[in-house]
């Protein structure tokens, strides 16, 4: 019998840290912390987009002081008593310590250039931006909040996929977030999805691709299966730029690639077009 094993979730791990986190992995330029912050974590030399933390992302997009966080107190539980090399609860605690976040998504209301919107921003630093029950619940509530306040929802994703430590319940966050988007749409509100590197697996296969407008950051990996999975299972040679934002644009899967410095104005324009409240 032909044997085939498929790991559907990507095994995309956080990119192995370069010698120094402030060194560009593409052109090896090195920056001071304040330089990177100043440039929105975009390499001034080659344009490489470094991973951006959720709170920094929010600060870079919204009108000063306008962000009101929601559901900040939601924490993951451990429904399966999951233990691999270490207990899931230990991994969670460590992620919380190192990121200062309760889980991999931050949600809340904000204004962008004077227009109100709901924000749902993922943080790849928290367990690879994996989606478990808390991410699903926060996203779901963000949809309801957007509907209730009559505002569009803006999402920024960065995720390796579903959080396998929560087993089948992690998979259920796919239909859960899909249903939340459909409820949002029935309420007449728009969703604008910004996909940062990487947006893969279960997040790509659920809410991230269901926005009315899909934006991507330059170079972002946006594939359902990770490149290594594709290569090892199908033995196909991967084309250059496989799964990257630019290929996704070419193949019709995103509306635009927006360099980070232009994201705020782009979102502002889209909020005007979707008649977000002033």
């Amino acid at each position: 019998m032909a044997k085939i094993d498929v790991s559907i979730e990507t095994d995309e791990q956080p990119v192995p840290p370069p010698k120094h986190p402030n060194t560009c992995p593409v052109c090896h330029s090195h920056y001071r912390d304040d330089e990177l912050e100043q440039s929105l974590w975009v390499c001034a030399h080659c344009g490489h987009h470094f991973t951006m933390r959720a709170r920094a992302r929010i600060d870079s997009l919204v009108d000063p002081g306008s962000f009101v966080e929601e559901s900040a107190d939601l924490h993951s539980e451990d429904p399966l008593g999951f233990f691999d090399l270490r207990p899931y609860v230990e991994r969670l605690a460590e992620a919380e310590m190192s990121t200062g976040l309760a889980d991999a998504m931050v949600t809340g209301q904000a204004a962008i250039e004077g227009r109100g919107c709901e924000l749902a921003v993922m943080d790849f630093s928290f367990m690879g931006g994996s989606m478990g029950s808390v991410v699903g619940e926060k996203f779901s509530r963000a949809c309801d909040s957007a509907a209730e306040h009559g505002m569009p929802l803006v999402t920024v994703t960065g995720s390796g996929g579903a959080r396998m430590q929560e087993g089948i319940l992690a998979l259920m966050q796919l239909p859960k977030t899909v249903c939340a988007v459909e409820d949002l749409r029935d309420a007449g509100q728009a969703m604008i999805s910004v996909m940062a590197h990487p947006t893969t697996g279960g997040v790509l296969a659920s809410f991230a691709t269901l926005g009315d407008v899909l934006l991507a950051e330059p170079g972002a990996l946006m594939s359902f299966a990770g490149p290594r999975v594709v290569e090892s299972i199908t033995r196909e040679k991967l084309p250059d730029g496989f799964g990257r934002a630019e290929q996704n644009l070419r193949f019709g899967h995103v509306d635009a690639i927006v360099p980070r410095p232009e994201l705020r104005t782009t979102l502002s324009r889209l909020l005007r077009l979707f008649d977000a409240p002033e």
Partner: protein
């Protein structure tokens, strides 16, 4: 024998259900009865060995596949082909047929029986074109008021270069979204492997069932083992950790019922397995056919309630 922890959790779920306004009061008693019967069947928490046995039975090479059930369950079967875009994906089978004289649409992944068919059907791993075919047929069913049955049996969506280029992630999301919008009754049953996104794409249904030895999981045991232990050989350990068996899925509220298999597994008596499946599908549809379309969209509330957090 004192009740197991597993039994306690099921009882707790039963208790919650009794207090939940689900699809109208009249329907609820059927739901409770079904759960009570499940409870009577499964008194024991499955052991790691039980789980591994299900993994093996779910993938057994003689296990009945979607078309094996179709020919036993439906009359007047007419297969519908093509996504109306660029392909007809053999890994996804769609069509119309009569169940107890009632026209239904059926969608399901199809594995292959011999080497040639396995290759042409990509071991039941659909391309985006397969999901788009399923969407098309489910929407056709919606137009004509036909209930939708989905049979889930896939290691996962196909992880190929072309599949990615043609939007695998978006297709899986769109298929779920299409199911969330349907105003006809929908019943999904995992009949073998319910592998991750490739499975949930067609399983956002009013009722979700699993065959007794089917598995339903966010990742394959081998994939999980490879990532967590860097060793695909630790699959059994991985399965024990993430518990893809039907009993655990029921306990977590992910599925609504377990369809019993003949002793030794469905492959030992496909006719009997098909009869048991028919009965379960009929029960589910009987509960659902008179529910108004708008009310059926409450399936969204069910899925939005899934998850555990504090």
């Amino acid at each position: 024998m004192p009740p197991s922890e597993h039994e306690l959790r099921l009882r707790e779920r039963l208790g919650r259900l009794r207090n939940m306004p689900l699809l109208g009061g009249a329907k609820l008693s059927g739901e409770l009865d079904r759960l009570q019967r499940q409870l009577d069947r499964i008194r024991q928490q499955p052991t790691d060995e039980d789980i591994w046995r299900s993994v093996q039975l779910a993938r057994h090479e003689e296990r009945p596949y979607t078309l094996d059930y179709v020919e036993r369950i439906l009359d007047d079967w007419f297969e519908l082909h093509g996504d109306r875009g660029s392909a007809d994906d053999g890994a996804m089978v769609c069509g119309l047929g009569k169940l107890d004289g009632r026209t239904v649409a059926l969608v399901g992944q199809q594995k292959g029986r011999d080497i040639q068919e396995r290759t042409s059907r990509r071991f039941g791993m659909p391309n985006p074109e397969g999901y788009r075919k399923a969407i098309r047929v489910m929407e056709l069913a919606n137009t004509h008021g036909f209930p939708v049955i989905s049979l889930v049996d896939t290691p996962g969506a196909y992880p190929g270069v072309a599949a990615e280029q043609h939007g695998q992630g978006g297709a899986i999301a769109s298929s779920q979204a299409a199911m969330a919008r349907l105003t006809v009754p929908t019943v999904a049953c995992v009949i073998g492997e319910g592998g991750s996104g490739g499975a949930i794409a067609i399983a956002l249904a009013d009722r979700v069932l699993m065959l007794e030895h089917a598995i339903y999981s966010v990742i394959s045991p081998e994939g999980c083992a490879l990532i967590l232990w860097r060793d695909a050989g630790e699959a059994k350990k991985a399965a024990a950790a993430f518990k893809p068996d039907a009993a655990h899925c029921l306990e977590l509220g992910v599925i609504d019922g377990i369809v019993p298999e003949p002793e030794g597994g469905a492959h030992t008596d496909p006719d009997a397995a098909a009869r048991l499946l028919t009965e379960a599908l009929r029960d589910a549809l009987d509960d659902l056919v008179d529910v108004p379309g708008e009310e059926l969209r409450r399936r969204r509330a069910k899925f939005r309630s899934l998850g555990v957090f504090a």
